[in-house]
Structures are given as structure tokens and as C-alpha cells.
Symmetry: C2
Subunit: 669 residues, 2 copies
């Protein structure tokens, strides 16, 4: 008589096991992903399965009524006390007697797949750094004295093969009370990535309460966090707040100089950002109604300056060449180290930085977008005050950052503002009449709609890109970035503005005008971005990329066609341009939910070739060419084939720099 | 031609090395203990040696004048700048050209021998957990960006084969400044016991300043510390202060109840003892004139209650059976964990506890006295409020503790006081006249000397033992512990005292009288001590021990003969009784100076058989027999052969307990 055949669904794993084997043991033998917290004691019900009875031709198996052993006393007690769904069995109690088909429901799978938002993207494998195990600990014995901790360690070793456990003083303080409260049974939460496991929480008896983690994207302007259920992988709450460091300086360089000019300035900013993180953690926990102490793991991504300020390291060196980081490697700290209101023992994993200008946020983008797995040559652009740029495919990935400045965020623009209700975000200019219409954040209607009545407060980054691209498309703007006069363009929207001209986008209160100096600010920003991308393309010895991913909140709102007309990104088919949303935040969430992604991103960051734009001779050349709209060196033939771009030439006054003159000259060749 | 012969003294290690090998490399090849901090760069001079030139028949070698290469530029620069003693050479620069005899002076030996105080004891091997290495770190490079820490790690790996370095946030904060101040050369202090090395200090350039450690014996009453130079192993300063916890209770059990009865009582005591430790550290550093931050390693021994209170663990469980420790194992913490004013990164090693009543102080005594290495069966007794008792020899060691109470420390004794100037510490009673004479702490003279004029303030533990033993010897006291009347004893020193009698030791201000209840307190204390020792002897199935070691400050002052007459310790030849002084403190110092002793004591503690007197049926029996003076069951024949002990029987009133009656009865059999 052969051993019974067991088939597990949905995995399809199958094999023969000795009659009398429990379902849980069979799952382990066959490598099936079946959870268990209590270690087979029939109290946690994490291992429950649904046997199929009858004939299953698809699987080639017929299952007898008594394929599993009868419900035993342990299973019956669980069912009476806690209730099992009809047909369900406890895998640790039910024994296999003959051929059987067993379905593992999603909640019994240890490594579930967590669905990401966008349908096009791969799911996240749930394999958190936090693991819960239930143990029965031996009681103290005067005949053989030993410490409570040593007996807990023995229990973990005997019952779960957990060796070399580390414990913090904080937990040691409560150990004796917890053990006695649980009558010598406890649930231990272990944090394990590389190295020995660390005890991060201990509850009396079988703990069935919440276990949470937070993925944090610590930006210069905002701090955003996703509170995740570490049992299911689902996002319980997402929230963001302003980085309280803003009071020390809007952008990173002003914070670096605050640290340089002010005694204890760096320490002040460290305190501020840690308080901000603490507020975020408390707010997220309160939103879901859990105590912050059940947050046992935190992952964190940020740019290098925020990285150093968070750790309490003076960012002085990041403000000057050669832009040396104190440390670039990933860090594993505790909540206590950063004064977080999580469990003080909670793990805090900070992703590695790529270089002095390319931070852990860029590493998180790389983790989320996985250019190293791409078949096509993929350009990933995360636009902020600095643009982080990744270019690569399977086998080779390059990275650089480019100092785009704050123009894309609406700063340095006459009517500019952050993306907020009332900000113009979409613009169209009629080719014939040259009359503009726009949409503002907070309204679905175009401004020309009679029903449009939303207040207009300014123009945000995506609006600026669209209006300039539209001006170029309809001939109000020449390739060099000069606005034509009312006479030359025939548009009533053009206003004289000293020796230059301006475009009236909205005549109201406030009046929104696009001046020639607004154009220049955007030209500088987009030229820096394009030049960085072009530099990486040089290293690949290519003039084209297969795919472009726009990352970041800003990236999600950019119209690809307008970005192409502007020459902000390499000339590509717009269908090949996608938005990844907050890819840095997604990367932080992957690192939180799947611990195996941590060594993976650490390896990738080491492999990434880092390009420092400041010392690349061709950067300047690309920058000059990219100052033209769309570009004076690259043809943008694909874009021009779709969109006719007129080529007027508007003479202007003498206030232009030599560089702009050169750019104009080369664009006219 | 054969390779040159090299002989190193004092080790006597010899061998052939290729001509042209540096002395430092030759030492490494031959396993000779030659220090180097700078790694062979000719700047630290730790590797200097003294070549012998000429003929050395004893070693069978003749050394030519040019056996070593000429002084090179590096060596000459060092000599000019810093000066070398005449004849000395830098081992990393001088190359071996022909047969040579090389003496390694003590200061060039990496693992020196540190002489302990007592000449009879073994020296301590100097092999501290702290190691200093000098490295040259690569400068940041924009073409290949990496963090300063990662480049420091690479340097340590390339230049010293140090892998997997850990670094605390505190040091990461100062890393960039230190590297630049040292112009990319630094001296790193590494702490390494088991597991990966940890960076504990970093100095710019070659650091030649002090590197210190402290060995602390944290007692219930006093905290004592030895500040040691970790380069030489010498004790720079020793100091002690009262344990500030005394204000919460004189003895341990009153502190345990303070913790039970008072909200946050345990926390208060934790703060107090940490402040006390901090004061001690600062005082020791100030005495020697070094900043406390150069204290990079601390070892600590203490009893279990102090152990828990120091760590912030409520000692509640230690106050009741089964006396469960939160943790018994050795702990490696940092100075920051315990709020010490050392470097916050300093290592703090707390020795393992043996059992709930037998602490890390007893483990330190075992490390110092090494009963596990003894050929003879050795009894080690550390007398305090609890007596810790170790019995064993090579292959087997037992331990127990016995609740002697505070009588030996002068508490519960009518004229008792702590050992301090004015306290009677030596007593003799004339056999014929029965007149006493005594010595007090602070004077060399006997009280009968006409020149004696020291104030007499009370009697301390060793004085009480002597006066009771003397009373027994001259027949003023019977075996049951009763003082005879003036009539029965014929002594004018006897005073009536209710239904019992008392002995007038000193008629002055204050009058020092030994009452029968004083005798009874000492009887209880010494019976507990003896019963514990006797219990361990039972386990060895022996009635005798070969050697007795009295540990602790009190042990150093006990007269062995009087202790034997009292029946406090097993009957032995007095020449076999030695005092070990503060063996717990010595154990802490060994653990500090020789890191290899740490796993050794951890192993020994695991091997020691722990006996809990409270649950051993024979303990009570031994206790009753030992209530008699010297003992009602054991003959003390060796002692009686030297000292005639009269056997009067003094009837007393009816206030005796049944137990005492039984003891007397059995002593009369």
C-alpha cells in the first residue's frame, strides 16, 4: 500500500506522506506555505484548511469521506470556543489517512501576495521582518535555578528552533510579569533580518491583537506614512504632514546653511524632524485606533540631507564637493534610537543612499520600479527640487541627480504656488485664437465653462509646464524661450513687460501672468533634468530610451505630451511614458512587507553606477542644448511628427546671458 | 645558505625567517607577542625591540653588528621626533639580515602579565576587550561616491583584517569631523568580545592618550571601583563610596520590600544606584586627571538584587521562592544603557549570576579563586549579609548561599558597629584571670598598654568573633552559648543581665558588653554559614576540606583560629586557611583586563551545581548542630588538639527555645 497522496491548492504542490501525518506537517514536508503561530497546539487556528471530498478529475484524485482523521478533543474545543467555518479543519490536528485535496485559504498563507494599487504592477510578497510565535516556558525550579530569560530562550529554541535571541533592556524589565501573567505561556514577536533574531514584543498567552508597521517617506517638504497590518499586509491608514523643519528653510540647501550658521542648528532640526515623525506615527495609530506600541517595524526613505538630519549628523559635508555622506549603507536601528512613539524596541530600517545627492528615496524608487529587472531600457525620473534619475535594464543601472531647483514646485515663478485647490494645473491654448483655457485643482470644469466659478489662486508645476508647452506649440514662444510681442504673435494675451513680453493666462484677482523670467526658470530646471538623463544615455551609448517612468507626486500630474514639447524628457512615444505615483513610498512599503527586499536593494544600490553630474564635462553641453525648447541638439522628431511646432524667432533686449545666446545660436544651426 | 635564525626573549621563541623580513613580521610568523598600533608605519613605536649584539652561548647564537638593517628614513624620523632609547629599534622598520637575538621589552608586549597584589596568586594576562588600531582612510571621490563610514570600514578591513564593524549613532555623528581633523588618518578603539567588533572611540591621527577601564564591585552597602590603564593593565586608582540605595533600606530584603510597597520604588532605586556609579566613575577619573570619556570598558559584579535594581528590573521575584532571576546570563551593555559618564559607547560587561541568591559577585570570586582549577578540595566563603559558599576542585564545583544575616557586620549586636576607627577588632582573654584586652581599628596598641589612649566606639564583626571564641576558650561560655554566672566562672567581668549574664569587655564611655542575645545572634549567623558549607560537603560525600579561602573585606580580618573555635568554618589546620581579600573585586578586574576570562566564567557558572539551602532537608539538621560552639555533631578534633576547650554547662532561665535545648542535648551526647 502506497502512502496517501496529498494535493494542496492553490499552490498545486503534491506528494505522498505517511498515513497519520498531520496536515501541518504534510504542508511543511511539501514546502506548502501554511501559517502557524501556536506551533501545532490547536489554539491559533492559523493553519486551517478546507478539505475537498469527492472526485476531482482535474487533479486526478478521489477523496474519501474519512480522508482526514475525525475531529479530536483539541479541535472540538477550539470549534466550540472560537468557531471554525463549516468544512474547515485545523491543520495541526487533522491527520491524513488517505488521498486528500486540501485548499489553503488566503488567511492561512504565511507569505500572502499583497496587491499594489496599480493593476499593471507586480504584487508584493508578504514576508515581514516581524514574526509571532507562541511558546510554553518552563517554570522556575529551585532544584535547577535559571533565569526566566534563559528558560524563554530554551523554549524558543526547542519549540521553534530559534537560536541566539537578543533582548533589549526595556523588554527584560517586563519579562517576569508577562511570563507570570500568561501563566508561563507567551507570544513573542521577533524581528529578524540579517543576524540573530531580536525580541521586540512579548505578550501573555496567545496574542491575537494588531501587529503593525509603518513605511515612511520623509521628504524635505512633507512626511508621508503608510500604516500597514503586518499580518495581512494591507494598508490600514495613510497620512502626511508638513516636515516641521520647513521653519528652518524651505529647501535643503537653506537647511544645510542653517546648520552651518546657527549653533546647535543641526540638533534643532534633528529634534524637529523626529518630533514630526512622532506626530505622524501617533496620528496614524489614532486613526486606526491602535496603541502606537504595537507598531513593531518601520521603514524609512529620504534624501541624503534629511537622512543625516534625522540621524543627528551635521549635513555640512553634503553642502559642498565632494558631497561625502557620513554613511551610505542601509541602517537598522530601533524606535528608541529615533525617539519614536512606536515600541522602543521596534526595528527601524533606513534604506541605503545611492550617493551624496541621490538618497534612500531614490533607492526606494529603484526597489519599486526595478529597472534592474526591465527588459527595455527604462528611464525613471523623480522630479523634486533635485531630480533623481535612474536609467537601466537587466544587467546595468545608472543613477544621477540633477539640480532642477524649485521652479517645478511653483517657486521662482511669478504666479507660482504649491499644488493646492485653486492652483491652475491644466492649460490649453487655442491654436488659432491663441486664447487660453485652464482647469484648477478642485474643479472638473474648464475655465471657459460658464459654470466655472472656482477661485483661482495661482499656478502649480504641472500648469506651468502645460502653459509654456502650449505657448511654444501655438507660436507665442520661440525655441530660445523668448515670448513674442503682441504684434509678432497677433495675440491679445501678450502684454509688454519691460524689454520683454508676458502672457496673460488669467485676468482676475490675482492676475496670472507668465513672464519671460518664469520661462527662463523653467528652462533652467528642465534643461538640468534633461541633461542628467542625456548624460546617463551617453553612458549607455544610446540616443533613445524604450520607456520613461515619471515618479513622485509631481510626476503623476505631468502631461507627457507637454513634457515632450518642452523637451523635459527624451523624445519618446507618449504611450511609453507612465506615471509610477509615489514610487519612493511604494519602495518603503515593499521594504516593510517583504524583508527579502532589503538585502536585494542593498545589493542593487552597490551595483548601481553613480554618475556625479558636477564633474561630467558633457553635462554642461547637454544643459546648454536643453535650454532650448524642446532642444537645440536633439531633434525631437517623434514629437514634431505628432505636434507641429512653429519656429518663430523673437528678437529681445540685451538682458540675456552669454549662455542663452550660445544656446540660441546652436539651436539656430 | 640557510635563512637567518631569530631568537626572541623573554619568550625564547625561535625560528628561521627569510633574510629581509622585518622584525615585526618575524614576530608574527613565530607567534611572538609584539604590539603594533600603527600597523607597521613607524609612528607608534609599540613594536620596538632591543637587539643583542655579540656572542650568546646560552642561546647558542652569535650576532653580527649588521644583523639588522641600517636605520632607515622612517626610523630616523621617529628617533629625531620622539626619541628611541639607546639600542632600541623599531620592529616594523628593522629588517633581519643574519642571525639575531631580540629582546621584547615589557612595554612592547601585547599580552603583558599584570601582577596581582598577593604574591601567592597567579598574574593576570593582559588581553583587554579594547583594541586600538591606526588606519589611513581613503578620501571621498566624486567619481566613485561612498560614505565616510564605508571607507573607514574598508580601511580597517584592508589594513587590519577587521570585518563587519558595528558603529553606534553617537560615533557616526562625529565621524566626518574626526576623519577630516586627522587628515584621513584616525585611531579607532574597537570593543570585541564575542560577535562582531564595535567601534567605541575614534580619534584623529595617532592617539597616544589614556585608554581606561573600570572594574566595579557593586555591593549593597558600598560601591568599589578600580580604574585601570588598559594599555599597561595597572590600577591607576581605587575608590569606593556608599551605595546611595542605603536610604531605601540597609539590607537587600528591606530594599525588595521598598520596591513592593512604594510606587516607582524600584525605579527610584535604579536611578539612585546609577547615580552612585556615575559619581564613582567621575571621582576615579578626576583622581587620575583623565576625562571620563576615555573609559571604554567597564566590568561589574554584584549580588542578584543589586543586579536587577541596576538594570531597572523590579526585584520582586527575588524576594520569594522560587527566587527566579529575570536573567542569569552575563550581559554586555553600553555605558549609555546605564547612564554612565564613561564614553556612551563603552562596553559594560556584567558577570553572570549563579542563582537567585548567588550573584555575579560570587561568580567573580569563582573567577578570581578558580576552585575549578584546584587540585585540593577548596572551600571558598564570602561572608556578608548573605554568605556565598563555593566548594570544589578540578572537575566539580558546587555553590550555595546561606542567610547569615547582618550580625557579622555588627548589626543586631548591642555594642556592634561597622569596621571603622575606634571599633574593637582583636580580643584576647587571659585564661587564668579571665581579664580581656583588645585592639581597636586605628591603634596598634593593646588596650592594656599604658600608652593606649584611642577612643573606643564599639565592636566590629571580627572583634565579636574573637571575643566569643575567647569566652568559649576560657570557660566563660558553654557549648550551648550560655554565659556562666560570676559565681560559676569566677570572673569579675561577668555582669548579671536579667535571667542571663553578660560579659564586660570595656568599662568606659560607651561600655562595651557582650550579652547573651549578642551570642545568640552570632550563633545563628555562624550556624547558617557552617550549615551551608556542610551541605556542600555532603554532596561531595566528605567530612573535611583541604583548604579554606575567606573572601571579602570581612574575611580578610577574621582570625582563623577564632573562627575555628567558634565552629564557623569546618575543622581544618589553620595554615590551610587563607584570606583572598576582595576576591569579587579581583574577579571583576580579571574580567576587565583579560577578555578571554569572560567566556571562561560563563562556562564555569553554567557548570557549577547550584544548591538551594531552603529546600535541602539536611540544612536544618546541620544548622541545629552548628548552633553549638563549636558544633554538637562534628568533633572539631583538630582544633581541640591545639586549643583546650573546657566544657562547662551553665543552666539558664526558661527563655530558651526547644531548638537550643535540642542542640545542647545533642552536644552532650
Amino acid at each position: 500500500m502506497t502512502d496517501p497522496l496529498v494535493i494542496f491548492t492553490p499552490s498545486g504542490k503534491r506528494g505522498h506522506v505517511a498515513a497519520g501525518t498531520t496536515v501541518l506537517d504534510a504542508a511543511r514536508q511539501l514546502g506548502v506555505d501554511l501559517d502557524s503561530v501556536c506551533g501545532g497546539r490547536g489554539i491559533c487556528s492559523k493553519c486551517q484548511v478546507q478539505p475537498g471530498i469527492g472526485s476531482f478529475p482535474k487533479h486526478g484524485i478521489a477523496v474519501a469521506d474519512d480522508a482526514l482523521s475525525d475531529v479530536n478533543a483539541v479541535e472540538q474545543r477550539y470549534d466550540e470556543k472560537r468557531g471554525l467555518k463549516p468544512g474547515r479543519r485545523l491543520g495541526c490536528q487533522a491527520c491524513i489517512q488517505s488521498d486528500v485535496l486540501l485548499d489553503v485559504p488566503p488567511e492561512s498563507q504565511l507569505h500572502k501576495q499583497v496587491v499594489r494599487k496599480a493593476a499593471t504592477q507586480k504584487d508584493i510578497r508578504l514576508d515581514p521582518a516581524i514574526r509571532l510565535v507562541y511558546v510554553e516556558v518552563a517554570q522556575p525550579d529551585m532544584h535547577d535555578p535559571s533565569g526566566d530569560l534563559e528558560r524563554l530562550k530554551s523554549a524558543l529554541q526547542d519549540q521553534w528552533q530559534i537560536e541566539d535571541l537578543r533582548i533589549d533592556l526595556t523588554l527584560l524589565k517586563t519579562l517576569q510579569t508577562t511570563l507570570r501573567k500568561g501563566n508561563w505561556t507567551v507570544t513573542a514577536a521577533l524581528y529578524q533580518t540579517e543576524g540573530p533574531p531580536r525580541l521586540v514584543a512579548l505578550w501573555p498567552g496567545l496574542y491575537e491583537g494588531p501587529v503593525a508597521g509603518i513605511a515612511i517617506d520623509l521628504g524635505s517638504t512633507t512626511i508621508a506614512g503608510h500604516l500597514c497590518d503586518l499580518r495581512s499586509g494591507s494598508v490600514l491608514a495613510s497620512s502626511g504632514l508638513m516636515n516641521p523643519q520647513i521653519r528652518f528653510g524651505e529647501d535643503l540647501m537653506s537647511r544645510v546653511s542653517y546648520a552651518m550658521m546657527t549653533e546647535n542648528g543641526a540638533d534643532e532640526m534633528t529634534r524637529a524632524v523626529r518630533e514630526g515623525l512622532g506626530d505622524l506615527v501617533r496620528a496614524l495609530a489614532a486613526e486606526v485606533g491602535i496603541p502606537p506600541e504595537v507598531i513593531l517595524d518601520v521603514t524609512l526613505v529620504c534624501n541624503p540631507v534629511m537622512h543625516h538630519l534625522l540621524l543627528g549628523i551635521d549635513p555640512y559635508e553634503l553642502g559642498q564637493a565632494p558631497f561625502a555622506l557620513a554613511t551610505a549603507d542601509a541602517l537598522t536601528l530601533t524606535g528608541g534610537d529615533l525617539d519614536l512613539p512606536t515600541a522602543p524596541t521596534a526595528g527601524v530600517y533606513i534604506l541605503p543612499c545611492i550617493a551624496g545627492h541621490v538618497g534612500a528615496d531614490a533607492a526606494a524608487v529603484a526597489l519599486s520600479e526595478a529597472p534592474d529587472q526591465a527588459q527595455e531600457l527604462t528611464l525613471i525620473v523623480d522630479v523634486g527640487t533635485n531630480a533623481e534619475i535612474l536609467l537601466g535594464h537587466k544587467g546595468r543601472v545608472l543613477a544621477c541627480s540633477s539640480p532642477t531647483g524649485p521652479a517645478f514646485e511653483g517657486a521662482q515663478i511669478s504666479g507660482g504656488q504649491r499644488a493646492a485647490p485653486g492652483a491652475i494645473e491644466r492649460v490649453e491654448i487655442d491654436t488659432a485664437s491663441k486664447k487660453p483655457r485652464f482647469q484648477v485643482i478642485g474643479s472638473e470644469l474648464w475655465s471657459t465653462d460658464p459654470a466655472f466659478d472656482h477661485p483661482v489662486t495661482g499656478i502649480c508645476g504641472s500648469g506651468i509646464i502645460e502653459v509654456i508647452a502650449e505657448m511654444r506649440r501655438v507660436g507665442l514662444l520661440d525655441a530660445s524661450g523668448l515670448i513674442g510681442s503682441r504684434e509678432r504673435t497677433g495675440s491679445d494675451q501678450i502684454l509688454p513687460d519691460g524689454r520683454t513680453h508676458a502672457f496673460l493666462l488669467h485676468d482676475g484677482e490675482p492676475q496670472i501672468i507668465i513672464t519671460n523670467s518664469d520661462i527662463r526658470a523653467i528652462q533652467m530646471a528642465k534643461a538640468a533634468l534633461y541633461a542628467g538623463a542625456r548624460l546617463l544615455m551617453n553612458k549607455f551609448e544610446t540616443d533613445t530610451v524604450d520607456r520613461i517612468v515619471l515618479a513622485g507626486a509631481f510626476g503623476a500630474h505631468i502631461s507627457p505630451e507637454h513634457a515632450l514639447i518642452l523637451g523635459m524628457i527624451p523624445d519618446t512615444d507618449p504611450s511609453k511614458i507612465t506615471s509610477a505615483g509615489n514610487a519612493a513610498g511604494t519602495g518603503a512599503r515593499i521594504a516593510l512587507l517583504d524583508k527579502s527586499s532589503r538585502p536585494k536593494i542593498e545589493r542593487l544600490v552597490r551595483q548601481i553606477e553613480k554618475i556625479e553630474t558636477a564633474i561630467e564635462p558633457r553635462f554642461q553641453e547637454h544643459f546648454v542644448a536643453a535650454s532650448a525648447i524642446p532642444n537645440s541638439a536633439d531633434s525631437f522628431a517623434l514629437t514634431r511628427a505628432r505636434v507641429a511646432l512653429p519656429e518663430p524667432r523673437f528678437q529681445a533686449g540685451g538682458d540675456r546671458s552669454r549662455r542663452q545666446r550660445r544656446a540660441r545660436n546652436s539651436s539656430s544651426q
